[in-house]
Homo-oligomer: 215 residues x 2
Amino acid sequence: MSTAPIRVLIADDEPLVRSGLAVILGAEPDIDVVGEAESGAQAVALARTLTPDVVLTDVRMPALDGIQAARRILDTVVPAPRVVVITTFENDDSVHDALLAGAAGFLLKRSRPEAIVQAVRLAAFGDTLMFPDSVRDLALHRRRATTPFPHPLSEREQDVLRLMASGLGNAEIAATLFLGAETVKTHVANILTKLGARNRTHAVVLAYRSGFVAP
Amino acid sequence: MSTAPIRVLIADDEPLVRSGLAVILGAEPDIDVVGEAESGAQAVALARTLTPDVVLTDVRMPALDGIQAARRILDTVVPAPRVVVITTFENDDSVHDALLAGAAGFLLKRSRPEAIVQAVRLAAFGDTLMFPDSVRDLALHRRRATTPFPHPLSEREQDVLRLMASGLGNAEIAATLFLGAETVKTHVANILTKLGARNRTHAVVLAYRSGFVAP
DNA sequence: TAGACGTTCCCCCGAACGGGGGAGGATCGT
DNA sequence: ACGATCCTCCCCCGTTCGGGGGAACGTCTA
C-alpha cells in the first residue's frame, strides 16, 4: 500500500477553512496538499496545471461555484481528478446537482476530520463515493420544487396535507395530530381552495407532482 | 483514535464469502469480527444477542433477504447497529430499497479489500455512507422497476386507477370512459380491495409509490 | 359444456366528504 | 391599540364515497 501519496487540491473562499483542511489532510502521510484555490475559476486553473488526484471544493464560491467548477474540471482536465464537494449546509439542494455533475463524493464541513480524510482516500481509490446521512435523502429523491403552490400553505396545513398524502381520512388525521375532526375539516377545505384542487385526492396528486411529498 | 475496536457481524449464505470478509476485516487491528450468520433470520438473531457496531450483510440470502433483515435489525436491535449491504451484482435494484430501509452503505463484492475496510470504518463513524460508482445512478434515480401490486389489476381497473390518480371523481371518470357511474363504483371498490387501500386517496398513494403512475 | 373471470349495470344505506357560515384565542408587526 | 394571520372548534346541509348485495353478457379455458 505504499505507493505515491494522494495529491489533493483544496478550493474554498474562506482561508480559515482552507487552512483547516490543509492541516487535517497534510497530517496524513499518504496525502499531499499540492495547492489551494480561493475561487472556482482558480480551482479550474490550478487543477489544469497541478493535475491533482483529488479536488476538494466548496459549493459556494465566487467566480464559479463548486458545481460548475467540478463540471469544468471533469470536462477539461486530463487525467480527470476525482472531485469531492463539501458544503456547510445540510439541506443543500446542490447535492443532487453535484453528483449528476460527476462529483465522486459529497460531505459536510462539520464532518469528523477522520471522515474527511477517509473521503479523500476513497475518492482516490477511484471506485467509491460517500456522503452524509443528513443529505442522503436529497440525493435519493428528486429535487424538491421550492414553491410549487400558488398560495403557500401554513405549517398546520402542510401537516394535514402530508397526512392526506398518506391516505388518511379526516378522523385519522385528527387522531394523529390530536385535533378535533372539525379543525381538520377546516384545514382540508383551506388546502383545497389554496391549491385549486377539486377534491382531496386531487390535492394529494398535486402534492406528489409538485414534490411536496416524496413518492 | 485508539478506542474500542469496531465490532462487526457478517451475514452471507456463502461460507467462502464469509471467511473472505472475516479475513479481510479481522486483519485490521481496529476491527473485530464478532459473529457470522448464514441467513437473514440468523443475522437478526445474532444482531440482537451480539449488539455489533456494524452489520455487513449480503442482499440475497435464504430465510430473510438482506433488505428485510436490515429493516428488522434497525427496528428491533438496541442500540441499532449500522448496516452495510453488500451484493454481487452491479445492476441490483435493491440499492434503492436498501438505502430507504436505513442501510448506512452499499458496496460490491468485487470492491477492493481496502474499500470494504474503509466502508466498515465509515459506517462505524456513524455519519457517512458510501457505495460504488457503478450503482450510484440506481440510487440517484427513481426505481423504474415498478413494484407490481399484490393482486394484479385488470385492464379496465388500471384505466380507472389512472384517472383516479388524476384526481377525478367517479362521475368524471364515468364521463371520460363512457361508462355508467355504477360501473365506475364497482371498479373502484375492486381496486380498493385488491390493493388493500383504505380509501380512494390511499389507492392513489399506492399507485404513486409503486410507480404505477409517474409523478 | 360448465366454470372462471372481466365488464357492465342496478339497488340500498351508512359514513365520509366538501361548501357555507360563524367564533374565540394566540401571535406578530405596524 | 389595531388589523392580519393562523389555529382551533362549532353549526347546517347536500354530495360523494364505499360496502353489501345481485344480475346480465361476453370470452376464454378446462
